[in-house]
Subunit: 344 residues, 4 copies
């Protein structure tokens, strides 16, 4: 349940204000060069504290290899990466324990785990755990860059497979700065849309019937907190189109299409064109605004405001996390398709 | 890969123009009454041939129990349900084998399976296999109706859990008839949007981190052919909202919320309110229009038109399939949560 | 639970006196030639009715392909093989329903499935289901024969991998005929020991930590009814040996060993030498002798004798079943190790 | 592959001379009291250094909870337990890297992982990892002790389920001291037999077809290094018996049997009697004797002796490990059977 993947299998663990968060990866091929430095750029992209609209909480976020690395290379045995939690202010959360925060997992977690859950900072439900996803993504991206097109592939590339996500809308504005400014002015949190593009992906990934590329990608994507929707290619707009508009004519023998309404997937299988999809990120639940909600202590609906340090627009931090889960899913598909070897 | 579920586990098989399609269900609780009659209403809803906009192919679609039923009750052993394919016209497909149909899996299936795939009528990729999903859904729905609210649940119901899906838009029109009429007039296929609502669902379903309700539902939903997007609650609209607008205030101790922008899921866990989500269905790839695409034989892009019998708007047949996969997913969650017993 | 395997995945179903038994195989590579004739020799080996000591029940046992085969080749989609049950005499079993047969699953099945189980002839617990295992084994063996040694392998072979099992003891006698004769004279059923040898297996199969070759093989082997023990290489005799006796000296750079006490597995991984293991088969529970046991109707312990047609020595029919599960396990390991391609 | 279990799922990681070994448990019910003290007795039983015949390597072996525990109780989120490796003498191993040790995984690990494996002390293949199994076993045993018999169970117990393993033979001697003395005198390592008994186990655990109690237990057991065989109930002796001798007459309505040749399992399902099985442990591969084997450097077979600290009889340390994997397997079965709740 806290695991994902068939061959490149993640096991995630940890809590926001517990001792650590981490990821255990089973099935990582042997012989991949791996150092702390490899992780820093993506960890930096994820980090809050340096940009308008993100939380001032700062963690050093240095990955600690606890197993699976020897002489700076992966061994083929399970890879365990730990992040210590140093910069926690649990007192903030203790104070408002009487209000299960709307939009957060506080209420459902309490019911589901009988009150035994670590509630501090959202505990195991916290966005803090995405640091572990990003770490897994770093490993996966390194593997993807090693994949070379074979002779049947449409996009022969010397750079392997690249995964890139970016914000394309905040608060309904195509200009993210403008959308963020709206939130700052309204003293409210705000949502956004993130788009992910993958280039260099070989044809033939994905498995009928239940493990279509869309199925497995969406499964992983909805593990990221705050995601409310996903669409591939033209997505929801496809529902308004005619078939003759939507179909992508095939124009050469490697499967290149004139248009890419399908977003690179047909019948659940990658078709050799760019993979394109978008996700909707809801506004951060912890808005600075005063809210009305149930007070567990009194049993009444009362006003309160959320304490703690939070992002005004969590979408800002999502792209690198989205890249990570995408890279992880594709790595798993490539191993399944025998396009990544078990020893490099 | 053709399997889905942890406890209530589906194995789907078959091809459009092969001998049969079917479903094998492992983990169905023992003691569920099950007769052919139970299946007829949903199979009828799925069937084409009776409604404007759906294919004239008619199958008798009678489920044949090959294992797992004894004295009209499930035994707890694997349940295998077969549907014979009687009404196939493979010649139609043979004729256009030289054109891999745009929007269909023809091209990718050929590459992925090395030309060994059963290409007739889309083979294993065909929408024909949804008859097997619908059958699994019938079993799952019967189980859901037996689930009784416990004392902590918000929605004490004597009718168990109900799953209902309906078309809410065709070709961009809120009035499905109007949207369909547009397609008939344009002599083109058309897409649509389907919404699914689940009432009576207990709080606490779904598992952190990777098996959120959205994760597992979307995984199953994208196994349905022609789906291009999914959104929960306010979905993509959430990306344009402020946090104070989007948050659902909790108003009582069972978790009832004033609004339901979350669509019944918070932190990946059901919160006891109605589960609501929507999916985008692309226009049927087999449009009656003449198309330009690659001719495998000549290696050139040429005009052709799709033969065979097809739906003008495949979305019309999706609601019962969407209900089926939803019911299957929820059944699995309920077994995992020990809210359905293994012997009834 | 009725599934087995990661990549070459079996789903077994059916009951002894139900409509059919069968196997669904997900993950079989595309392009394997497969005809009914391929199955006949192994099905014949398994069949009772022709040999002293086996049941007079005769089934035609013709495999019916319900999916996954097209133009006599596997398609890469799930392969479903059905066997009809024609020659059933359920009345025999009905008669003695009041006695849960000692050594059989009657009692536990009744408790576990709340009385809903199909009890006729042992239902889903019957040895009849091994016909489905044998069918899966035929497919797996065909794949194994295609595996060619690579340059590092110890046993370069043009015949691929071979799996052969044989009875090495019946009723404590090394001469099976002699052991069987003892049983005939005693008018009692009798047990035996079966040994399996695999030649041509490449080095490196098996996965630490939990998926050692022994782990996965024994998992599969204990799915065969009536098995009470398994030992690899010297097995239980190893417990009486000194380390200097038991260790197999490595004598060349491909891993050949002077002796093979390890039975071809070290550290859970195949070492390139012959894989050798043995299993203990208990005497058929349905002995012709009169037994004392609980009568469910009266609640008393009473004398009764088992009706129905049964094997005097079920071990006689085990070798081909043991080969089958062994071949299935090895196929799965070879796919995992990328030594069998997904398209042939 | 380094994972085991359906519901109570272990992920094991670490290397003998790496930074740490550990276990991640997903699916542990919430609300189980858990402190470091709970682990000490079983960790002590496993530890070498205090008994004749075991390695002088001493680790403090204090479990460190990295996630999943809050206020001394499990939270329902993944439980991660780490053991630091402090007392390593890798230089010993470095010295004999030129000889792949017979009976060890050195040779196969090198081939399988392309030389990237952490070879120090056996790396991921080391018996050191059993400390992580023992830790998982402590958690499982605490859960088993909470299981109460229900009204249909044969063995109403106020103490829950108990799991106990003991050495019953060393070097062929029923008196372990005598067998060990033989080894000390011969200056050689020696094997042994360990028996495990489980009392209080409810009827109905285990799943047809592939997840029989024997299947899943043996799968887990063969993950323990040095195991060469397993037998249930009368085991290999059953192969020499007549059916009328071997069958266990049922003597009451809860399934009690007069004898227990079946070892508590019929048809793969627990029958409410004591579960009894035995395993064969080979002599420690690292014998003090001089051995002949391949020298990787020279390519010749040469004499060498194994350096490092080792057990003369590894079987001495196996009982607590065997209890651990048994407890883990039974916990998983009990969760599957809904006889352990997800919140305590």
């Amino acid at each position: 349940m806290n695991s994902f993947g068939r061959f490149f299998r993640l096991n995630i663990f940890g809590e926001s204000h517990g001792e650590s968060v981490g990821i255990n990866i089973d099935g990582c091929p042997a012989g991949l060069s791996l150092t702390v430095e490899d992780f820093l750029p993506d960890l930096e992209r994820r980090k809050g504290g340096t940009r308008k609209g993100t939380t001032p909480r700062k963690e050093s976020d240095l990955p600690i290899f606890k197993s699976g690395v020897f002489n700076d290379k992966t061994t083929g045995a399970p890879l365990t990466i730990l992040f210590e939690n140093n910069n926690t202010r649990s007192a903030d959360y203790q104070k408002q324990r009487d209000f299960p925060r709307p939009g957060h997992a506080d209420f459902v977690a309490h019911q589901k785990f009988g009150g035994y859950e670590d509630f501090r900072g959202g505990g195991h439900f916290s966005g803090r755990l995405t640091v572990a996803l990003v770490a897994a993504g770093v490993v996966a991206k390194k593997l993807l860059r090693l994949v070379r097109a074979d002779k049947n592939d449409k996009t022969p590339s010397d750079n392997g497979i690249s995964v890139q996500a970016a914000i394309i809308e905040i608060g309904g504005e195509r200009d993210p700065e403008k959308g963020l400014q709206k939130a700052v002015e309204a003293k409210d949190s705000v949502g956004g849309i993130v788009e992910c593009r993958v280039n260099g992906l070989p044809l033939g990934l994905g498995e009928p019937f239940f493990d279509s590329v869309e199925s497995v990608l969406s499964h992983a994507v909805f593990a990221i907190p705050a995601i409310r929707g996903i669409e591939f290619g033209t997505g929801f707009a496809a529902a308004k189109m005619f078939g003759s508009q939507h179909n992508d004519p095939i124009i050469d023998e490697r499967g290149a299409t004139l248009t890419n309404h399908a977003g690179g997937i047909v019948g659940g299988i990658s078709n050799g064109n760019a993979l394109v999809f978008r996700i909707a990120v809801k506004p951060t639940s912890s808005t600075p605004k005063i809210q009305e909600s149930l007070n567990w202590e009194t049993g009444n609906v009362e006003s309160f405001s959320v304490k703690g340090r939070h992002d005004l627009c969590i979408a800002l931090r999502v792209p690198v996390v989205l890249e990570a889960v995408t890279a992880v899913v594709l790595t798993d598909f490539l191993l399944t398709a025998q396009k990544i070897s078990r020893v490099l």
